[in-house]
Symmetry: C2
Subunit: 200 residues, 2 copies
């Protein structure tokens, strides 16, 4: 077992538990049971529950950055990359139906708790937003890039919430189809406008 591995185990377990139960409802005892560690020993790795939360948020940030970087590599078309983002709700459908969106539900909870790390959690959402903006800019819609990015992000949050509420797989599929159609129309429109401006 490498150095810091136990710490990482704790963060991983906390990450999963914060997602499935919520931050406030997850106790040291819960995490300790998951990692098979003494409850008292916790203090050695983390001084505070909030410290664990910060570590979890850092991990989630790093995970999402890696995911976005992978999409940046594998798909060279910005529209394809946005499609990757859209299709997370299908890829993670089971978990979303059970626990909602990991990012959205954390931000919501920390807001209600008026927690100091709320801003930090917001950065994950901001990460998605900024990445989406870059994609839409690259796609050609400079003026509307921010609007479109927030639209897609908002869409994903809505789908996640309703999927969790009604557990309706067909609904998720329909919404994905519709937003993909919307994305295609955006793509067509921008290429059309680009053709005009090039001609001029």
């Amino acid at each position: 077992m490498a150095a810091g591995s136990k710490r990482q185990q704790i963060v991983n377990a906390a990450d999963a538990l914060f997602y499935s139960q919520g931050f406030a409802q997850t106790s040291f005892a819960d995490i300790a049971a998951a990692v098979q560690i003494s409850r008292g020993n916790f203090y050695y790795h983390f001084k505070t529950k909030d410290e664990i939360l910060d570590a979890v948020i850092d991990k989630r940030l790093a995970d999402r950055e890696m995911l976005l970087a992978k999409w940046d590599e594998t798909a060279d078309d910005p529209a394809r990359r946005i499609e990757c983002f859209i299709k997370i709700v299908i890829v993670n459908q089971a978990k979303i139906m059970a626990y909602g969106c990991p990012v959205g539900s954390l931000v919501t909870e920390l807001t209600k708790l008026d927690h100091a790390s709320r801003e930090k959690a917001n950065q994950i959402m901001a990460l998605f937003r900024d990445w989406l903006i870059r994609q839409f800019v690259e796609l050609g819609c400079h003026a509307d890039a921010c609007d479109h990015a927030l639209h897609v992000l908002s869409w994903s949050q809505g789908v996640a919430t309703l999927a969790q509420t009604f557990k309706d797989e067909a609904f998720v599929q329909r919404e994905v189809s519709q937003i993909l159609e919307w994305l295609a129309s955006i793509e067509r429109e921008t290429t059309r406008l680009q053709a005009i401006s090039t001609k001029a």
Copy 2:
């Protein structure tokens, strides 16, 4: 002070606190302080915290039913009524930005708590869904009524979540404008189809 008034005060205070702090994070002490009641006296009105939750959900259900009934009366065009629903995110903008959607956030929390009253809370969302379905049916789109209803509901949840995250008023306004445009296009399409079928 009329009989049962104290009970109603408790439910009202709990309603507001559950919304702003969350159900689990609201203690008997919090509610007692809000209603200026002894903590021990609570047991006389409600045996259990879950009983208060059920009463709060009942109140929210009744409130929403009243709201929808009012819209049914005041607006005779189904599209107008749907517009009323859409514009709640503007009317309640301040509270939504602070605490999110009262319905969505409660369902999300109770799901993570694996709480027995989750189904009951879901009924509020189902109430909105069914009402929206009725409006879309009346508008003329029978086959797509359920899809459209869930689409609008999902949209509202997404907007609420992102409004709470980024506190961006302009974003809310844009999203409302876009969905109203979408609604208008639905309306045009159905009247067009109705004209064709009437002619045949």
